[in-house]
């Protein structure tokens, strides 16, 4: 297993507030890493630093060996990123927006058309290809963002809450899509939905206050609480005064 994503001492401070505190981990090909944590734990900040949108205060990360600070452009070429809330230009049509992203990624002519239609095919967008994004439902908008991240078939995918706002059927489809791509890529998915971790992730990292508090397979994590439920473990690790915390300590 080769590490496609390597994170070393990644730190982000906003003034005196430390959002991400010396985070280090690697993600290998074939891994789907569930990135969990309460709101404000530093998930999106970490993902933004990986995607080159935010400059780390300290430490660095490498995507396919390219340092995000020194060689950001090369790192971003190897990366598909779905930002939080899947922002897209509202007045553009679905295919117009995807064509723009594909062109920036260096595709032109026939190859661009093929890439765009393959991405729309994967995410079920053919039916709305000529619709302006602003007229789409929340679920479709998210799929447009996802299609943008998948366009160039990148070896590394970073998806910030890819299923947020989707209905149960759409969630299911996205999970299947992620599982299908998993063997060939390193995928990092942030989520609040713990059953999703069970369903798609091969490994889960829980962070709280910018630090890693757990890093294990979903099954091993679940065993940390006598109930065997992930959400109890999550509560215990990220909200230590709760009743589940005591039970987790007892089980350990």
């Amino acid at each position: 297993m080769t590490a496609l994503v390597e994170i070393e001492g990644l730190t982000k401070r906003f003034g005196s507030f430390t959002a991400v505190d010396r985070l280090s981990f690697t993600v290998a090909r074939g891994e789907v890493l569930g990135f969990l944590g309460p709101n404000g734990a530093g998930k999106s900040t970490t993902m933004r630093m990986l995607a080159g949108f935010m400059e780390p205060t300290e430490g660095t990360a490498r995507i396919m060996g390219h340092d995000v600070r020194r060689d950001g452009l090369a790192a971003r070429r190897e990366l598909g990123f779905l930002p939080e809330g899947a922002p897209t230009y509202p007045e553009m049509t679905v295919s117009g927006f995807l064509s723009f992203a594909a062109a920036v990624r260096g595709y032109s002519g026939r190859e661009r058309a093929v890439r765009v239609s393959a991405a729309m095919d994967l995410t079920g967008l053919e039916g709305v290809r000529l619709q302006p994004v602003e007229t789409l439902s929340k679920g479709f908008k998210r799929r447009v963002g996802l299609a943008q991240a998948l366009l160039h078939n990148p070896p590394v995918l970073i998806l910030d809450e890819p299923t947020d706002g989707l209905d149960p059927n759409q969630k299911h489809e996205v999970r299947i899509l992620i599982s299908r791509m998993a063997p060939h890529k390193a995928i990092i998915v942030s989520t609040h939905i713990l059953e999703e971790v069970d369903a798609v992730c091969t490994r889960a990292i829980i962070i709280a206050a910018g630090r890693i508090v757990a890093d294990a397979t979903p099954a091993a994590l679940a065993k940390m609480h006598p109930s065997g439920k992930l959400d109890e473990v999550f509560r215990a690790l990220t909200h230590p005064t709760s009743t589940s915390a005591a039970a987790t300590r007892a089980a350990a």
Partner: protein
């Protein structure tokens, strides 16, 4: 270069997809027409030139150009699309130049649509068309200067109204410094500043073009002025990315 053109093309597409383009062009042409023919005393002057037309251009641009640029970055930030745009394999400088280029092409298109003025003076008399051409080149450079300022101001905020007000305020600063009232006041109050003010006055440089003079100095001035503000724009985009 490819990245710049792609960003510019997308940006221009969004002007056309929204009513921004149509509203801007109509208002620009109506105001320019009213000012030139009525306030400017175009007919009363009894001279076949476009001096009246060009005299009002700086003030019309002062109000309208920040209206184009206010959304350039503020809107990206408000929608969150800036995060998508800047995580594509593009540099900040490419994005800044692409957006500026789109706004500039659009302004130049609006300027070209004032061709009926040129036809009118040519019908009524025999103007110095060389001077008119120089005036248009100057107007395009003036628009570019204001656009660069407005774009940089837009990168400072996610609020379009603030971006607009900041844009007008800063453009105003570089416009009024060409007026005798201001330079006279500055020379008596802070002489050091008066020298500087005269040097950076975009409108004074523009007036040279209106007189029919295209000097290398003026071209270099506009190029550096636009370059300076676009450089600031890039710094603002980078700085605001961090928080």
């Amino acid at each position: 270069m490819r990245g710049i053109l792609l960003v510019a093309k997308r940006e221009l597409g969004s002007y056309v997809a929204t009513p921004v383009a149509a509203v801007f062009i109509v208002i620009f042409l109506v105001i320019q027409g009213l000012l030139t023919f009525n306030l400017g005393g175009f007919f009363g002057r009894n001279q076949a030139d476009l001096v009246a037309f060009f005299n009002f251009i700086p003030w019309v641009f002062l109000l309208l150009v920040p209206a184009i640029t206010m959304r350039l970055w503020a809107e990206e930030r408000r929608l969150g699309t800036i995060e998508m745009l800047l995580t594509l394999p593009l540099t900040q400088a490419q994005a800044v130049l692409g957006k500026f280029l789109a706004a500039w092409v659009f302004c130049i298109a609006a300027l070209l649509l004032t061709f009926p003025f040129v036809i009118t003076v040519n019908y009524l008399g025999s103007p110095d068309n060389g001077a008119i051409l120089a005036g248009y080149v100057g107007a395009a450079l003036l628009a570019g200067s204001f656009l660069a300022i407005g774009s940089a101001m837009s990168a400072l905020t996610r609020n379009q109204v603030i971006a607009f007000v900041l844009g007008v305020a800063v453009c105003f600063l570089f416009a009024v410094t060409s007026y005798p009232v201001v330079t006279a006041f500055l020379s008596s109050a802070v002489p050091e500043l008066a020298v500087l003010a005269r040097r950076v006055s975009v409108v004074a440089r523009f007036q040279g073009f209106v007189r029919g003079v295209i000097s290398l100095r003026a071209l270099v001035f506009f190029a550096s002025f636009i370059g300076f503000w676009l450089y600031l724009n890039t710094i603002f985009v980078k700085a605001r990315q961090t928080d």
